[in-house]
């Protein structure tokens, strides 16, 4: 944590190398946070870049309050998503955007198709959750944040976060059971 503080301090002083380190440290969690809410990979990349540009421009305000850098960055990412949806007029994703999403990590075409289908199912399942449940479940299992960090980020108590997490997982479990007949 002290290391991150030092890096941020250097970035504040105009050290682009330090900002590159920050980027490497936080790019993946920010990208995943956005990509779980937007199916299109290209748009997720663009929005992640927007987030980092905003961080770059406002690096002077990072760590000014009690929030951790990650919480601050997630807040920027969340606001960027809200702006994106507002401009778009909807938070739904078109079929074209969905079809463009083919995970490149799949080694074969068959695996690619399977992953694509699973990904599609997961997006649909997440749509069944409430906004709070979706936020908590993705932050917990996609971004691997602790319950304490999530509580700080969304401004709720840890018990409330755990409750949202449990309810979200129960809902997901029921949907999987309905779709596949088994958990």
């Amino acid at each position: 944590m002290n290391n991150i503080k030092e890096i941020i301090q250097k970035a504040k002083e105009g050290d682009n190398e330090a900002f590159s380190l920050l980027y490497k440290e936080y790019y993946v969690p920010i990208y995943r946070y956005i990509h779980t809410r937007i199916r299109s990979r290209e748009q997720s990349e663009d929005l992640t870049q927007d987030v980092f540009l905003k961080i770059y421009k406002n690096i002077g305000t990072v760590l000014e309050n009690d929030h951790t850098p990650l919480a601050y960055f997630y807040t920027i990412a969340k606001n960027t998503l809200i702006d994106f949806w507002r401009k778009k007029g909807s938070d739904t994703v078109t079929d074209d955007e969905y079809m463009s999403e083919v995970p490149d990590t799949a080694p074969t075409a068959l695996d690619a198709a399977r992953l694509k289908e699973e990904s599609s199912v997961l997006y649909e399942c997440l749509e069944e959750l409430t906004a709070d449940q979706k936020e908590v479940v993705t932050l917990k299992f996609i971004n691997e944040l602790s319950t304490h960090e999530i509580a700080e980020l969304i401004g709720k108590k840890e018990t409330a976060v755990r409750q949202l997490q449990v309810r979200g997982l129960r809902t997901l479990s029921k949907i999987f059971k309905q779709k596949y007949g088994t958990t």
């Binding site: 900002f19 590159s20 990208y31 770059y56 995970p103 299992f141 997490q165 129960r170 999987f176 958990t183």
Partner: protein, 214 residues
């Protein structure tokens, strides 16, 4: 005969799942957790399966490699953190003279100027002192002896002096002569004016095409 499974109260299931997740965070295995709560095994396994699917999904997400180069190209050439808040003109001016002596000189000068202004306004304008010899020689009454057209208003110093001074008899005579001459001139001018109006009237009557007074 198999008895129907009694539904578990939702609150209890949520509580148990919460505890199960807490144990999992502490490193307890799923097998041990299920053994701890055997009556909720199905629910716990379902929740852990959902967690597993989410984790698999996370791993399948491709993170672009070239993102750093792209963003570094997109970054402005200036140093980071240049988004400054909008400042008022006064604040900007003040910040520009921050390191100069003006910052200290200007307030002192302003205070001195205001204090001086206050002192002067309280005291008022000091009266002009006129030497006594000037009064005795009637030099201050020279304005009275001059013709009316050439006279000027007495200055602030002359006015009180003229009121207080006692005029000599020659001055009285001169004043009386001047007033008489003025009265004569005035009556002559009035009679001349009346004559010209009467002439105009007679012309207007004889020549109806002319406008009266023109």
């Amino acid at each position: 005969m198999e008895q129907p499974k009694k539904p578990q109260p939702a609150k209890t299931i949520e509580k148990v799942l919460g505890e199960a997740l807490e144990l999992h965070e502490k490193g307890v295995s799923l097998h041990s957790i299920v053994r701890t709560y055997p009556e909720f095994a199905e629910e716990i396994e379902g929740a852990f399966k959902a967690m597993s699917v989410m984790s698999t999904w996370k791993e399948s997400m491709r993170v672009p490699e070239a993102g750093l180069e792209k963003i570094l190209r997109a970054l402005p050439e200036t140093a980071p953190g240049n988004a400054k808040p909008v400042q008022s003109p006064f604040v900007r001016f003040w910040s520009t003279i921050h390191y100069t002596n003006l910052k200290y000189v200007l307030p002192i000068a302003a205070v001195a100027f205001l204090t001086g202004g206050l002192i002067i306004s309280k005291k008022g304008t000091p009266p002009i002192e006129v030497p006594q010899s000037a009064v005795m020689n009637n030099q201050t009454n020279s304005a009275v002896t001059r013709p009316m057209a050439a006279t000027t208003a007495p200055s602030a110093g002359e006015a009180p002096l003229a009121m207080n001074a006692t005029p000599a008899s020659s001055v009285d005579q001169a004043v009386a002569a001047f007033q008489a001459a003025s009265a004569k001139e005035s009556s002559t001018a009035e009679s001349n004016n009346e004559k010209s109006i009467a002439t105009a009237d007679s012309q207007a009557i004889t020549d109806p095409t002319q406008t009266y007074g023109n």
